[in-house]
């Protein structure tokens, strides 16, 4: 098990370096001359030549890549082309923080709906409630966020006036409710599916029958023997689900007018501000890789059966 963790820890930096290389190449290959973009009105051929030299754009690709990675390691993703004289990190950080808060809220929604409902569906297998839950979750899962977002806005904001229709007011505001629901519901559907399957797996185990036979109360069997074991495989899909929800949050930010990373990256595309876009993609990749690493390692620690292998 130690060998596995060490191997993962050694591979992760390599993986991130390769990911950075890919992003870097896409960034350099992107249309538009950075020097020209930065100079704006002052872009005469002479000025462009001087600016290119100053920005190091004439260096060979490997040199530029190592400069880029060196900068990234120090938290320097270069300067924005569009916002004169501001560093990428300065622009990305507050936006990313907004998106993270939104995603955490969405994850809370997904977990608190998905896990209990999946468990419940599994316990009710054989009754009409189980397929009813499964099918309605599939319906919700297939429902694109384009559908849920306008529907929720129309119903709760425009019609009932319970919450504001759009905007951003921080983690503890009413405005976060609708977007968090919009992102969280498809995530909840995924959790229901996995939780139901893994609960069904555990319910059939002999130790559960033994626990019942010992005369333990239903509550104790359900929570100590079934739920805790059923949760284990669900933990591993947490990373993927979060990545999926993160993708959904880009659209949701647009529809709800939230000043998050999604809005920023889209603006960056249309302003050809590629340092911002690449930084954002790279940060996204880094977070996903680390999340999966932590989940995998945590999993080996939580589940002794894996440690023994």
């Amino acid at each position: 098990m130690l060998a596995y963790i060490v191997r993962r820890l050694l591979w992760t930096p390599v993986l991130l370096a390769l990911a950075a290389f890919f992003v870097f190449i896409m960034g350099t290959w992107a249309p538009g001359d950075p020097a020209e973009l930065r100079l704006g009105n002052r872009a005469t051929p002479d000025n462009i030549k001087r600016e290119r030299e100053r920005m190091g754009l004439n260096d060979p690709i490997p040199v530029r890549y190592f400069n880029y990675v060196g900068g990234v390691l120090k938290g320097d993703f270069g300067d924005s082309y569009h916002y004169q004289g501001r560093s990428v990190l300065e622009i990305v950080r507050p936006r990313l923080w907004v998106s993270m808060q939104l995603n955490i809220a969405a994850l809370i929604v997904a977990v608190s709906i998905g896990l209990p409902l999946g468990f419940y569906a599994a316990k009710k297998q054989g009754t009409a409630r189980d397929p009813a839950i499964v099918i309605s979750m599939l319906v919700l899962y297939a429902m694109p966020v384009f559908f849920t977002a306008p529907f929720l806005i129309l119903f709760f904001a425009v019609k009932l006036h319970w919450v504001p229709a759009s905007g951003w007011g921080g983690f503890f505001s009413l405005q976060i409710i609708l977007p968090a629901l919009t992102i969280g519901i498809p995530g909840a559907a995924v959790f229901v599916r996995f939780m139901r399957a893994s609960t069904l797996d555990v319910i059939g185990q002999e130790y559960v029958r033994t626990a019942h036979a010992k005369g333990m109360s239903n509550f104790v069997v359900n929570y100590r023997h079934v739920a805790r074991n059923a949760l284990l495989p669900v933990v591993t899909i947490m990373g993927f689900t979060m990545a999926g929800m993160f993708g959904g949050s880009l659209i949701v930010e647009l529809i709800y007018g939230i000043p998050g990373a999604g809005r920023l990256s889209l603006d960056a595309i249309f302003q050809r501000d590629f340092p911002v876009l690449t930084a954002f993609v790279l940060l996204g990749a880094g977070m996903l890789v680390f999340a999966n690493l932590i989940i995998d390692i945590a999993y080996t620690i939580i589940d002794p059966r894996i440690r023994l292998q």
């Binding site: 297939a142 129309l154 647009l254 993609v281």
Partner: protein
């Protein structure tokens, strides 16, 4: 569920003496795919879903025939109208007929899903998966590492980055071709859009398929019949395509049916962001974007004319939902062991 399972089991049991025809003739055996089709048809929800999918796709394929207007035709005297005999789904803010635009949008979806599946998932994914699983060693290691790098990115971000960086290059390339050959309409026909989207969706489609095929091949290559074929001196391509591939077809079908919904949705999302299909060519994503997110006036359009969203959204939703149901059913029918 349990009842139908029992029923199937009795259908699939091995033949018994009393099954023999009265005249003592041969067993009547049904082909493998016929049997699977019969099992599939018995799942009513899945069968209905398949009919819905076929219907939607037919609408898209025959868009030029069944359109009631031209998809670009604007009519500023009839903007933002509700459904009527002339405009079945109403009109948008430029007075364009929504029914016609939905039908053409479906055609875009059909083209994108088919091409991106044929190239990315089936051609690349399956052949690379076969190679990785069969040759193992360095080939496998390199392919898997590349795949890991690709899947290190959140899907949507990677697709957006690719689409954003590739589009201007591809458009320029197409313009150059037009200039040098004197052809016209290459850029305006939307082919460039399809190529950009197809390439941007590649990382989404190939790796999953490749990993699936690789896993199957790793098991199958040790199977006795493959060893026998190798011992008889069968060539490697023949072993791969004649002996191994047919046994991987079932999981491939299941994976494709689950993946199509995701591909279709990705195209919609790209076009929604304005990175996919470009106006005037309609796409379901563009239509949704026009009502919900373009400009700052999103909420007012949405508040006043939410019905314009209905048609494109229901089509997208039906497609994804139906493919999920079909995928589930195919999974049950084709991989009975996995249950």
């Amino acid at each position: 569920m349990t009842n139908s399972q029992k029923f199937e089991r009795s259908e699939n049991r091995s033949p018994m003496l009393k099954d023999l025809p009265p005249d003592g003739g041969q067993f009547k055996t049904r082909g493998h795919w016929r049997k699977i089709w019969a099992n599939f048809r018995r799942r009513r929800l899945a069968f209905v879903s398949l009919i819905i999918i076929s219907f939607i796709y037919l609408l898209g394929i025959f868009a030029p025939v069944i359109q009631t207007h031209d998809y670009q035709e604007t009519n500023l005297r009839e903007t933002q109208q509700g459904p009527s005999a002339d405009h079945w789904f109403g009109t948008d803010r430029a007075g364009r007929d929504l029914y016609t635009r939905v039908v053409w949008g479906i055609q875009t979806t059909v083209i994108i899903t088919v091409t991106s599946f044929a190239t990315g998932s089936l051609l690349l994914g399956v052949s690379i998966g076969l190679a990785a699983g069969y040759f193992r060693g360095w080939t496998d290691a390199i392919i898997m590492r590349v795949g890991e790098v690709v899947s290190a990115f959140p899907d949507i971000l990677l697709i957006i980055l690719l689409a954003a960086t590739l589009r201007p290059r591809f458009v320029q390339f197409a313009r150059d071709i037009e200039d040098s050959t004197g052809m016209t309409g290459l850029v305006s026909s939307g082919i460039v859009d399809y190529v950009v989207i197809g390439v941007a969706l590649l990382p989404l489609s190939w790796f999953g398929m490749m990993r699936l095929v690789r896993g199957q091949v790793l098991v199958l290559r040790e199977a006795e019949y493959v060893q026998a074929a190798r011992a008889m001196g069968t060539s490697t391509p023949r072993i791969l395509y004649r002996h191994i591939l047919p046994n991987v077809v079932s999981p491939i079908i299941v994976s494709v049916s689950f993946g199509i919904g995701a591909i279709a949705l990705s195209e919609v999302i790209l076009s929604f962001f304005g990175l996919g299909v470009q106006p005037p060519r309609p796409s379901l994503g563009v239509m949704i974007g026009e009502v919900t997110a373009r400009g700052g006036a999103s909420v007012s359009v949405l508040r006043d004319h939410p019905e314009q969203l209905l048609a494109p959204i229901i089509v997208v939703w039906l497609l994804i939902f139906s493919w999920n149901i079909v995928g589930d059913a195919l999974n049950d029918v084709l991989n009975p062991r996995a249950r």
